[in-house]
């Protein structure tokens, strides 16, 4: 073809944003799609959080206060599904959309239209899921783990639950494919794999995890569906199946899933800590190997969620050993971050504060994880509030803190304005204090014998529960401050941001002006200086 034809196309290809609603509905731009992901995630976080607040209010004191037990179970189930699939995963995908093309020197994601599709499936999926609250029999109430036979007692909501999980799966698989292809195929020509920034690396690994386990979840819920409506016996002993088979399949998905929720968080802090320590990331390559080992190990530890189901002894021993091993690569990551801070010149802006809090609090969550891996002890901890404490420590001051740190860190790049630093710090301190008030007492509750997923409890658990509830309300309200700070920044209330934003940060994204241009890099950038990648 002639170059005249090509040029004619250019003017269409490299246009600015479309006007009005079409910009969002028809979006193919990675920044627009990233923004939509992040907004969806925030809405879902507030929704799931509001459910958590109802849960915590009900648990404020013994006796039933507001809601019936079945409604409580519905709220617990939906809280978890919304937080995991609606708040944390889309937030990380949103960050990936925004940052990966900028960090690897690409104009956009590799498959922009599919990118749009991945996003727009989500609102429909959550519409289906949340609508179940208004159906006969109410929302699903069998826990986010959806164990049969209990989940088969769900009312009209049942097929909606299954199909919304399918939609979430389709979305995640397409998102993961897109991220893999972008990273592998769209890097600036002289950026070798080991020169890639850590956030890109952790996302590459996460995308493979997604690709491997989302179809597994889809298969598991498909079997639930056929057991319910077509008379199959996958999870029915009388027909030769086994309810525990579902648990195996679910956790084969579920355990890698929890690392899907944390690996991008590791990536985020691996970007933030070097910047504010003014020192390159310590042990870049071993960080890559550690993240890969975590991903690999995550496939062979799943049954640590099932130590009480009556597995043969050898199985229990195997899963205990393999689970404990995960402490080793995770420790490597932690120590590398500390070594990065060591003898740096640290300043403590909001993103750094969040990153440091993650180092402390995620580690506490990791310690309780190791305790849970010890089978005889887990027999005591299992399905008690100790587990609830464990996973909220890794999820809230792990994943959620990392998402917020990332937003503070990159928001000036996105919006072109600085956020309000003192409000940001206030938000940090309130969050850090209340998150501990909320979740630390749950360790004691679990050890004292309080089971999880109960709407009412015996009187000896009253004190810690009311502390946790107060903490939850404090933590929840503090998040409104975050919403305020972000809105103010996006509306351009802060000082203008320079292209570097921070004090000499490393990485390609900081070579672009703030706000970043609509198409990040129209021609491949030159990656010459080795120190461009920390």
């Amino acid at each position: 073809m002639t170059s005249a034809v090509m040029d004619a196309h250019h003017s269409e290809e490299h246009h600015g944003p479309a006007k009005g609603i079409r910009r969002w509905l028809y979006a193919t731009n990675h920044k627009d799609i990233g923004t939509m992901y992040l907004v969806l995630s925030l809405v879902m976080f507030l929704t799931g959080g509001a459910m958590a607040l109802v849960i915590r209010s009900e648990l404020f004191q013994p006796g039933l206060q507001f809601i019936a037990p079945n409604v409580f179970n519905q709220l617990t189930t939906m809280h978890a599904l919304i937080m995991v699939f609606g708040a944390v995963m889309p937030a990380f995908v949103g960050l990936a959309n925004w940052m990966i093309p900028m960090m690897i020197g690409a104009p956009d994601m590799a498959l922009p239209r599919m990118n749009n599709w991945s996003f727009w499936i989500l609102p429909f999926a959550f519409l289906m899921l949340v609508a179940t609250f208004f159906m006969p029999g109410g929302a699903p109430a069998a826990g986010w783990t959806m164990y049969p036979p209990l989940v088969l007692q769900t009312g009209d909501a049942f097929p909606y639950l299954i199909f919304s999980v399918h939609l979430l799966g389709i979305s995640s698989i397409m998102g993961a494919i897109n991220i893999i292809v972008t990273i592998v195929n769209m890097r600036a020509p002289d950026m070798s794999l080991l020169k890639m920034p850590m956030f890109v690396w952790t996302w590459l690994i996460t995308a493979y995890l997604l690709l491997a386990v989302m179809p597994v979840l889809a298969g598991a819920v498909t079997m639930l569906l056929t057991d319910q409506f077509f008379g199959t016996s996958f999870f029915l002993a009388a027909g030769g199946g086994d309810p525990v088979l579902f648990q195996h399949i679910f956790w084969f998905f579920g355990h890698p899933e929890v690392y899907i929720l944390i690996l991008p968080a590791f990536g985020v802090i691996s970007e933030i800590i070097p910047t504010f320590s003014r020192k390159p990331l310590f042990g870049h390559d071993s960080m890559v190997y550690a993240a890969s080992s975590i991903a690999f190990l995550s496939f062979i530890v799943w049954a640590h969620h099932m130590f009480t189901v009556g597995m043969p002894l050898t199985g229990q021993l195997f899963f205990m050993f393999s689970t404990m091993l995960i402490a080793v690569p995770t420790g490597v990551k932690l120590f590398n971050w500390i070594a990065t801070m060591w003898r740096g010149t640290m300043t403590f802006e909001t993103p750094m504060l969040f990153a440091i809090a993650i180092l402390f609090l995620f580690t506490i969550g990791g310690f309780s994880g190791i305790m849970l891996a010890i089978v005889p002890a887990d027999i005591q901890y299992h399905d008690s509030y100790f587990v609830v404490a464990h996973f909220h420590y890794v999820l809230v001051p792990g994943s959620i803190f990392a998402i917020m740190a990332a937003v503070y860190y990159w928001l000036p790049k996105w919006s072109g304005h600085m956020y309000n630093e003192s409000l940001g710090k206030l938000h940090f301190w309130l969050s850090a204090v209340f998150v501990n008030v909320t979740f630390f007492p749950m360790h004691f509750l679990g050890l004292a014998g309080m089971p999880r997923r109960i709407p009412d409890y015996s009187t000896q658990f009253a004190d810690f529960n009311s502390i946790a509830s107060v903490g939850a309300i404090g933590y929840g309200l503090s998040q409104l401050l975050f919403v305020y700070v972000v809105i103010q920044c996006v509306r351009g209330k802060g000082a203008k941001a320079t292209s570097e934003v921070w004090d000499n940060p490393k990485g390609l994204e900081w070579t672009l002006p703030s706000p970043a241009p609509y198409h990040s890099f129209e021609v491949p950038p030159k990656v010459s200086s080795e120190s461009a990648f920390s």
Partner: protein
Amino acid sequence: MLRKVYLSVIGLLGASNASADWTLNMPRGVTELSAETYALHMQVFYWCCAIGVLVFGVMIYSLIRHRKSPGAEPATFSHSMKAEVIWTTIPIIILLILVVPSARTLIKLEDTRKPDMTIVATAYQWRWHYRYQGQDVAFYSSLARTSGVARRLDSSIDPFTVENYLLDVDNPLVVPVGRKVRLLLTSNDVVHSWWVPELAIKKDAIPGFMNETWFKADVVGTYRGQCAELCGMDHGYMPIVVKVLEPQAYAAWLASRQPTALQSADTN
């Protein structure tokens, strides 16, 4: 409320000496294996504390020492093989130290051979059914009426006035002290889980399968637990109460529950 917040701070600091209402730790329990479990729990907890003190100590030191001060130049090092090998090896060693006693206890826990007696527990939504193997004794065990009334959404009864709120049943499981009791667990509907913290036992009751577990209580007393697997609406309301009696008292109880005796005194 303030008092509670204040107390919790104290609680967080002074961990182990718990007052009656402020249980902060796992119960030591009343069986040999519950004590071993407790010891394991404490062992891994202390390891975590030690690692925590070390790691957090280094971090805090660094945060203070290496914060930006005028004229300070950041170092530029970015790897050290030696350091990395050290902090890969040490955790592995610690884990090996932890694994051995855990495996040993686990093997004992799974050894259900040669019991002195066997009880089949069947879970229903939402109560337990116990059948004593080889005896003509079988009964349901449900939430006690006092709790059952008080737990209603519209009840105006203060849970604090109910003794053992939600942890009391009409017919407790009764076993003799010092005997190895094998428990066979199954379910009639969905998955439940039989948990009594003081016996350090938790085992799922799965429809269509029979799970085995065992305990040997060394101390006479009443031990309370709850169903530990989400089993629907009233999952929070299917407690477990185990009464451990002296052998004679147990024999008397057993005799009183035989069918002939039952005809006169039908329940309880």
